[in-house]
Protein backbone atom coordinates (compact mmCIF):
# COMPACT_ATOMS: atom_id res chain seq x y z
CA UNK A 1 0.00 0.00 0.00
CA UNK A 2 1.21 3.52 -0.80
CA UNK A 3 2.41 5.46 2.23
CA UNK A 4 3.54 9.07 2.22
CA UNK A 5 5.54 10.46 5.09
CA UNK A 6 6.12 14.13 5.68
CA UNK A 7 9.23 13.34 7.67
CA UNK A 8 12.33 11.67 6.32
CA UNK A 9 12.50 8.12 7.62
CA UNK A 10 15.51 6.83 9.58
CA UNK A 11 17.19 3.96 7.77
CA UNK A 12 19.88 3.25 10.33
CA UNK A 13 21.49 4.87 13.34
CA UNK A 14 25.03 5.78 14.30
CA UNK A 15 24.82 5.64 18.06
CA UNK A 16 21.84 7.78 18.94
CA UNK A 17 22.12 9.70 15.67
CA UNK A 18 19.40 8.68 13.23
CA UNK A 19 20.55 8.62 9.62
CA UNK A 20 17.50 9.35 7.48
CA UNK A 21 17.03 8.41 3.84
CA UNK A 22 17.09 12.11 2.90
CA UNK A 23 20.39 12.64 4.73
CA UNK A 24 21.82 9.53 3.11
CA UNK A 25 20.73 10.77 -0.31
CA UNK A 26 22.16 14.19 0.49
CA UNK A 27 25.47 12.49 1.30
CA UNK A 28 25.34 10.62 -2.02
CA UNK A 29 24.69 13.89 -3.86
CA UNK A 30 27.64 15.39 -2.01
CA UNK A 31 29.84 12.47 -3.16
CA UNK A 32 28.65 12.75 -6.76
CA UNK A 33 29.33 16.48 -6.85
CA UNK A 34 32.77 16.08 -5.27
CA UNK A 35 33.67 13.41 -7.84
CA UNK A 36 32.48 15.66 -10.68
CA UNK A 37 34.45 18.51 -9.12
CA UNK A 38 37.64 16.45 -8.93
CA UNK A 39 37.24 15.23 -12.52
CA UNK A 40 36.70 18.79 -13.69
CA UNK A 41 39.70 19.99 -11.66
CA UNK A 42 41.97 17.37 -13.22
CA UNK A 43 40.91 18.35 -16.71
CA UNK A 44 41.26 22.11 -16.30
CA UNK A 45 43.44 23.47 -19.09
CA UNK A 46 44.00 26.86 -20.69
CA UNK A 47 42.47 25.53 -23.90
CA UNK A 48 39.24 24.03 -22.62
CA UNK A 49 37.83 20.65 -23.58
CA UNK A 50 34.08 19.99 -24.02
CA UNK A 51 33.45 19.44 -20.28
CA UNK A 52 35.37 22.52 -19.25
CA UNK A 53 33.61 24.50 -21.96
CA UNK A 54 30.24 23.57 -20.50
CA UNK A 55 31.46 24.34 -16.96
CA UNK A 56 32.81 27.73 -18.04
CA UNK A 57 29.60 28.49 -19.91
CA UNK A 58 27.56 27.66 -16.79
CA UNK A 59 29.86 29.70 -14.54
CA UNK A 60 29.88 32.65 -16.94
CA UNK A 61 26.09 32.48 -17.28
CA UNK A 62 25.64 32.33 -13.51
CA UNK A 63 27.99 35.26 -13.01
CA UNK A 64 26.06 37.17 -15.66
CA UNK A 65 22.78 36.56 -13.80
CA UNK A 66 24.42 37.61 -10.52
CA UNK A 67 25.81 40.72 -12.23
CA UNK A 68 22.27 41.71 -13.23
CA UNK A 69 21.34 41.69 -9.53
CA UNK A 70 24.53 42.92 -7.86
CA UNK A 71 25.68 45.23 -10.69
CA UNK A 72 29.29 44.46 -9.86
CA UNK A 73 31.40 41.63 -11.32
CA UNK A 74 33.81 41.71 -8.38
CA UNK A 75 30.99 41.21 -5.92
CA UNK A 76 29.43 38.55 -8.12
CA UNK A 77 32.69 36.60 -8.06
CA UNK A 78 32.95 37.15 -4.31
CA UNK A 79 29.53 35.64 -3.53
CA UNK A 80 29.47 33.20 -6.44
CA UNK A 81 30.83 30.15 -4.56
CA UNK A 82 28.05 30.08 -1.95
CA UNK A 83 25.23 30.96 -4.32
CA UNK A 84 26.33 28.50 -6.97
CA UNK A 85 26.94 25.73 -4.43
CA UNK A 86 23.41 26.25 -3.12
CA UNK A 87 22.11 26.06 -6.70
CA UNK A 88 24.08 22.99 -7.74
CA UNK A 89 23.41 21.14 -4.47
CA UNK A 90 19.66 21.68 -4.71
CA UNK A 91 19.62 20.95 -8.46
CA UNK A 92 21.46 17.65 -8.13
CA UNK A 93 19.41 16.73 -5.06
CA UNK A 94 16.21 17.30 -7.01
CA UNK A 95 17.34 15.58 -10.20
CA UNK A 96 19.01 12.60 -8.55
CA UNK A 97 15.84 12.23 -6.47
CA UNK A 98 13.97 11.55 -9.71
CA UNK A 99 16.21 8.68 -10.79
CA UNK A 100 14.61 5.26 -10.97
CA UNK A 101 15.28 3.39 -7.76
CA UNK A 102 15.02 6.38 -5.49
CA UNK A 103 11.97 5.65 -3.41
CA UNK A 104 11.55 2.12 -4.72
CA UNK A 105 14.50 0.47 -2.98
CA UNK A 106 13.40 -0.18 0.56
CA UNK A 107 15.03 -1.25 3.79
CA UNK A 108 13.16 -3.28 6.37
CA UNK A 109 10.26 -5.49 5.62
CA UNK A 110 6.51 -5.39 5.79
CA UNK A 111 4.89 -2.36 7.38
CA UNK A 112 8.20 -1.11 8.79
CA UNK A 113 9.88 -0.92 5.36
CA UNK A 114 11.07 2.53 4.36
CA UNK A 115 12.66 3.82 1.14
CA UNK A 116 16.45 3.68 1.16
CA UNK A 117 16.71 6.97 -0.71
CA UNK A 118 14.61 10.10 -0.69
CA UNK A 119 15.04 13.41 -2.43
CA UNK A 120 16.88 15.59 0.12
CA UNK A 121 14.74 18.64 -0.58
CA UNK A 122 11.64 16.69 0.44
CA UNK A 123 13.03 16.83 3.99
CA UNK A 124 12.61 20.12 5.83
CA UNK A 125 15.96 19.64 7.60
CA UNK A 126 17.73 19.99 4.27
CA UNK A 127 15.83 23.06 3.06
CA UNK A 128 15.88 24.69 6.48
CA UNK A 129 19.62 24.14 6.80
CA UNK A 130 20.22 25.73 3.42
CA UNK A 131 17.90 28.64 4.20
CA UNK A 132 19.62 29.24 7.56
CA UNK A 133 23.03 29.13 5.90
CA UNK A 134 21.90 31.48 3.13
CA UNK A 135 20.36 34.08 5.45
CA UNK A 136 23.27 33.88 7.90
CA UNK A 137 25.65 34.37 4.98
CA UNK A 138 23.63 37.36 3.77
CA UNK A 139 23.95 39.01 7.18
CA UNK A 140 27.64 38.20 7.47
CA UNK A 141 28.27 39.53 3.96
CA UNK A 142 26.40 42.72 4.77
CA UNK A 143 28.28 43.17 8.05
CA UNK A 144 31.60 42.55 6.28
CA UNK A 145 30.80 45.02 3.50
CA UNK A 146 29.08 47.79 5.48
CA UNK A 147 30.22 47.16 9.03
CA UNK A 148 28.72 45.32 11.97
CA UNK A 149 27.24 48.50 13.50
CA UNK A 150 25.53 49.34 10.24
CA UNK A 151 24.06 45.87 9.94
CA UNK A 152 22.89 45.82 13.54
CA UNK A 153 21.36 49.27 13.11
CA UNK A 154 19.07 47.71 10.51
CA UNK A 155 17.46 45.64 13.25
CA UNK A 156 18.04 47.77 16.33
CA UNK A 157 17.32 51.36 15.46
CA UNK A 158 16.50 53.71 18.33
CA UNK A 159 16.38 56.98 16.39
CA UNK A 160 12.62 57.09 16.69
CA UNK A 161 9.55 54.94 17.21
CA UNK A 162 9.04 54.40 13.48
CA UNK A 163 12.67 53.34 12.96
CA UNK A 164 12.41 51.05 15.98
CA UNK A 165 9.28 49.44 14.56
CA UNK A 166 10.94 49.11 11.15
CA UNK A 167 13.84 47.37 12.90
CA UNK A 168 11.44 44.86 14.44
CA UNK A 169 9.88 44.30 11.00
CA UNK A 170 13.39 43.69 9.63
CA UNK A 171 14.00 41.02 12.29
CA UNK A 172 10.66 39.41 11.47
CA UNK A 173 11.46 39.60 7.76
CA UNK A 174 14.74 37.74 8.30
CA UNK A 175 12.81 34.86 9.89
CA UNK A 176 10.19 35.12 7.17
CA UNK A 177 12.93 34.78 4.56
CA UNK A 178 14.20 31.62 6.23
CA UNK A 179 10.71 30.16 6.42
CA UNK A 180 9.74 31.18 2.88
CA UNK A 181 12.96 29.84 1.36
CA UNK A 182 12.82 26.54 3.18
CA UNK A 183 9.10 25.88 2.86
CA UNK A 184 8.93 26.91 -0.80
CA UNK A 185 11.59 24.41 -1.77
CA UNK A 186 10.29 21.74 0.55
CA UNK A 187 6.68 22.24 -0.58
CA UNK A 188 7.47 22.07 -4.28
CA UNK A 189 9.75 19.07 -4.11
CA UNK A 190 7.59 17.18 -1.61
CA UNK A 191 4.50 17.90 -3.70
CA UNK A 192 6.34 16.61 -6.76
CA UNK A 193 7.35 13.45 -4.90
CA UNK A 194 3.77 12.89 -3.78
CA UNK A 195 2.46 13.55 -7.29
CA UNK A 196 4.90 11.08 -8.85
CA UNK A 197 4.19 8.48 -6.17
CA UNK A 198 0.44 8.75 -6.68
CA UNK A 199 0.72 8.67 -10.48
CA UNK A 200 3.06 5.69 -10.36
CA UNK A 201 0.71 3.98 -7.91
CA UNK A 202 -2.40 4.61 -10.01
CA UNK A 203 -0.95 4.12 -13.52
CA UNK A 204 2.53 2.62 -13.35
CA UNK A 205 3.36 2.90 -17.08
CA UNK A 206 3.73 5.88 -19.47
CA UNK A 207 1.43 8.27 -17.59
CA UNK A 208 4.05 9.27 -14.92
CA UNK A 209 6.55 10.18 -17.69
CA UNK A 210 5.26 13.72 -18.39
CA UNK A 211 5.16 14.36 -14.67
CA UNK A 212 8.77 13.27 -14.38
CA UNK A 213 9.68 15.82 -17.05
CA UNK A 214 7.63 18.38 -15.16
CA UNK A 215 9.56 17.54 -11.98
CA UNK A 216 12.88 17.87 -13.83
CA UNK A 217 11.80 21.37 -14.79
CA UNK A 218 10.47 22.14 -11.29
CA UNK A 219 13.71 20.85 -9.77
CA UNK A 220 15.71 23.26 -11.91
CA UNK A 221 13.37 26.18 -11.32
CA UNK A 222 13.32 25.69 -7.55
CA UNK A 223 17.11 25.52 -7.40
CA UNK A 224 17.30 28.66 -9.51
CA UNK A 225 14.72 30.48 -7.35
CA UNK A 226 16.57 29.59 -4.15
CA UNK A 227 19.90 30.76 -5.57
CA UNK A 228 18.40 33.90 -7.14
CA UNK A 229 16.62 34.87 -3.92
CA UNK A 230 19.86 34.39 -2.00
CA UNK A 231 21.57 36.70 -4.51
CA UNK A 232 18.76 39.24 -4.24
CA UNK A 233 18.95 39.15 -0.43
CA UNK A 234 22.71 39.68 -0.65
CA UNK A 235 22.13 42.61 -3.01
CA UNK A 236 19.55 44.14 -0.69
CA UNK A 237 21.73 43.65 2.36
CA UNK A 238 24.73 45.22 0.60
CA UNK A 239 22.67 48.21 -0.49
CA UNK A 240 22.04 49.12 3.15
CA UNK A 241 18.78 50.26 4.70
CA UNK A 242 19.15 53.86 3.64
CA UNK A 243 19.22 53.10 -0.11
Amino acid sequence: MLSISLRAEPIFSIGSFPVTNALFMSFLVLCVLIVIGFILRRRLTTIPGPGQNVAEMVVEGSLGIMDSVLNDRRRSEQYFPLVFTVFIFILFSNWLGLLPGVGSFVVGSGASSVPLLRSPASDLNFTLALALIAITFVNIASAAALGVRHRLSTFFNFHGPIEFFVGILEIVSEFAKIISLSFRLFGNVFAGEVLLAIMAFLVPYVIPLPFIFLEIFVGFIQALIFAMLTTVFVGMALAGHGE
Partner: protein
Amino acid sequence: MQQLLSQLGIDWRLLIAQAVNFFVLLVVLLLYVYQPLLKLMRERGQRIEDGVMKADEADRRLLEIEEIGKEKIKAAEHEALGVIKKAEADGKTLEARLLAEARQKEEAALKNTEALLRAREEESRRALEKEAASFVRRAIAKTVDLAPETIDNALIAKAVEEAKQTA
Protein backbone atom coordinates in the same frame (compact mmCIF):
# COMPACT_ATOMS: atom_id res chain seq x y z
CA MET B 1 5.99 24.20 19.00
CA GLN B 2 7.94 21.10 19.80
CA GLN B 3 5.08 19.01 18.48
CA LEU B 4 4.94 21.03 15.25
CA LEU B 5 8.67 20.65 14.70
CA SER B 6 8.38 16.95 15.41
CA GLN B 7 5.53 16.56 12.96
CA LEU B 8 7.50 18.39 10.28
CA GLY B 9 10.45 16.13 11.03
CA ILE B 10 12.75 18.94 12.05
CA ASP B 11 15.59 17.58 14.13
CA TRP B 12 18.50 19.86 15.04
CA ARG B 13 20.97 16.96 14.65
CA LEU B 14 19.79 16.29 11.10
CA LEU B 15 19.78 20.03 10.46
CA ILE B 16 23.43 20.25 11.51
CA ALA B 17 24.29 17.14 9.50
CA GLN B 18 22.74 18.67 6.37
CA ALA B 19 24.58 21.94 7.04
CA VAL B 20 27.85 20.03 7.44
CA ASN B 21 27.17 18.25 4.14
CA PHE B 22 26.69 21.60 2.49
CA PHE B 23 29.82 23.14 4.02
CA VAL B 24 31.93 20.16 2.99
CA LEU B 25 30.67 20.54 -0.56
CA LEU B 26 31.23 24.30 -0.46
CA VAL B 27 34.82 23.96 0.78
CA VAL B 28 35.70 21.19 -1.69
CA LEU B 29 34.19 23.00 -4.66
CA LEU B 30 35.70 26.30 -3.56
CA LEU B 31 39.20 24.86 -3.32
CA TYR B 32 39.14 22.45 -6.23
CA VAL B 33 36.75 23.96 -8.74
CA TYR B 34 35.69 27.58 -8.25
CA GLN B 35 39.05 29.15 -7.45
CA PRO B 36 41.07 27.38 -10.19
CA LEU B 37 38.28 27.75 -12.74
CA LEU B 38 37.67 31.43 -12.00
CA LYS B 39 41.43 32.06 -11.98
CA LEU B 40 41.77 30.33 -15.32
CA MET B 41 38.86 32.28 -16.81
CA ARG B 42 40.21 35.53 -15.40
CA GLU B 43 43.67 34.85 -16.83
CA ARG B 44 42.24 33.91 -20.20
CA GLY B 45 40.07 37.02 -20.18
CA GLN B 46 43.12 39.08 -19.28
CA ARG B 47 45.10 37.45 -22.07
CA ILE B 48 42.36 38.14 -24.58
CA GLU B 49 42.09 41.71 -23.33
CA ASP B 50 45.87 42.12 -23.59
CA GLY B 51 45.81 40.57 -27.07
CA VAL B 52 43.09 42.94 -28.21
CA MET B 53 44.95 45.88 -26.69
CA LYS B 54 48.17 44.82 -28.37
CA ALA B 55 46.37 44.35 -31.69
CA ASP B 56 44.84 47.83 -31.33
CA GLU B 57 48.27 49.21 -30.44
CA ALA B 58 49.80 47.42 -33.43
CA ASP B 59 47.08 48.84 -35.72
CA ARG B 60 47.67 52.30 -34.30
CA ARG B 61 51.43 51.99 -34.75
CA LEU B 62 50.97 50.64 -38.27
CA LEU B 63 48.86 53.66 -39.13
CA GLU B 64 51.48 55.92 -37.54
CA ILE B 65 54.24 54.19 -39.51
CA GLU B 66 52.21 54.50 -42.71
CA GLU B 67 51.73 58.20 -41.96
CA ILE B 68 55.43 58.62 -41.22
CA GLY B 69 56.27 56.72 -44.43
CA LYS B 70 53.97 58.97 -46.46
CA GLU B 71 55.50 62.07 -44.87
CA LYS B 72 59.01 60.77 -45.52
CA ILE B 73 58.18 59.96 -49.13
CA LYS B 74 56.70 63.42 -49.53
CA ALA B 75 59.81 64.98 -47.94
CA ALA B 76 62.06 62.84 -50.13
CA GLU B 77 60.10 63.87 -53.24
CA HIS B 78 60.39 67.49 -52.15
CA GLU B 79 64.12 67.08 -51.50
CA ALA B 80 64.61 65.28 -54.83
CA LEU B 81 62.80 68.09 -56.59
CA GLY B 82 65.12 70.59 -54.88
CA VAL B 83 68.16 68.56 -55.85
CA ILE B 84 66.96 68.37 -59.47
CA LYS B 85 66.31 72.12 -59.56
CA LYS B 86 69.71 72.80 -58.02
CA ALA B 87 71.38 70.40 -60.47
CA GLU B 88 69.62 72.15 -63.35
CA ALA B 89 70.73 75.54 -62.07
CA ASP B 90 74.28 74.27 -61.49
CA GLY B 91 74.23 72.74 -64.97
CA LYS B 92 73.17 76.01 -66.51
CA THR B 93 75.86 77.90 -64.59
CA LEU B 94 78.47 75.36 -65.62
CA GLU B 95 77.28 75.49 -69.21
CA ALA B 96 77.53 79.27 -69.26
CA ARG B 97 81.00 79.17 -67.68
CA LEU B 98 82.18 76.50 -70.10
CA LEU B 99 80.75 78.46 -73.02
CA ALA B 100 82.53 81.61 -71.85
CA GLU B 101 85.79 79.72 -71.41
CA ALA B 102 85.38 78.13 -74.85
CA ARG B 103 84.79 81.52 -76.37
CA GLN B 104 87.85 82.95 -74.65
CA LYS B 105 89.95 80.02 -75.84
CA GLU B 106 88.52 80.36 -79.32
CA GLU B 107 89.38 84.06 -79.41
CA ALA B 108 92.86 83.38 -78.08
CA ALA B 109 93.39 80.63 -80.64
CA LEU B 110 92.11 82.92 -83.37
CA LYS B 111 94.48 85.69 -82.30
CA ASN B 112 97.37 83.25 -82.16
CA THR B 113 96.52 81.96 -85.61
CA GLU B 114 96.25 85.48 -86.99
CA ALA B 115 99.61 86.40 -85.47
CA LEU B 116 101.14 83.25 -86.84
CA LEU B 117 99.67 83.92 -90.25
CA ARG B 118 100.96 87.47 -90.17
CA ALA B 119 104.38 86.29 -89.13
CA ARG B 120 104.43 83.72 -91.88
CA GLU B 121 103.19 86.25 -94.39
CA GLU B 122 105.89 88.63 -93.31
CA GLU B 123 108.45 85.91 -93.54
CA SER B 124 107.18 84.88 -96.97
CA ARG B 125 107.20 88.45 -98.12
CA ARG B 126 110.74 88.90 -96.88
CA ALA B 127 111.84 85.70 -98.59
CA LEU B 128 110.09 86.82 -101.74
CA GLU B 129 111.73 90.25 -101.58
CA LYS B 130 115.01 88.60 -100.95
CA GLU B 131 114.43 86.25 -103.89
CA ALA B 132 113.25 89.13 -106.07
CA ALA B 133 116.29 91.18 -105.15
CA SER B 134 118.52 88.27 -105.96
CA PHE B 135 116.67 87.74 -109.20
CA VAL B 136 116.94 91.39 -110.05
CA ARG B 137 120.66 91.35 -109.17
CA ARG B 138 121.29 88.41 -111.43
CA ALA B 139 119.14 89.93 -114.15
CA ILE B 140 121.07 93.17 -113.83
CA ALA B 141 124.29 91.32 -113.81
CA LYS B 142 123.36 89.57 -117.03
CA THR B 143 121.96 92.74 -118.56
CA VAL B 144 125.09 94.68 -117.68
CA ASP B 145 127.09 92.09 -119.43
CA LEU B 146 124.96 92.52 -122.58
CA ALA B 147 124.12 96.30 -122.63
CA PRO B 148 125.34 98.81 -120.02
CA GLU B 149 123.03 101.54 -121.34
CA THR B 150 120.06 99.35 -120.44
CA ILE B 151 121.18 99.19 -116.88
CA ASP B 152 121.61 102.87 -116.84
CA ASN B 153 118.06 103.29 -118.04
CA ALA B 154 116.84 100.83 -115.42
CA LEU B 155 118.71 102.59 -112.67
CA ILE B 156 117.34 105.87 -113.84
CA ALA B 157 113.79 104.40 -113.88
CA LYS B 158 114.27 103.01 -110.40
CA ALA B 159 115.59 106.24 -109.07
CA VAL B 160 112.65 108.04 -110.57
CA GLU B 161 110.25 105.48 -109.04
CA GLU B 162 111.80 105.80 -105.55
CA ALA B 163 111.74 109.54 -105.88
CA LYS B 164 107.99 109.28 -106.64
CA GLN B 165 107.38 107.07 -103.67
CA THR B 166 109.30 109.30 -101.28
CA ALA B 167 107.56 112.36 -102.69
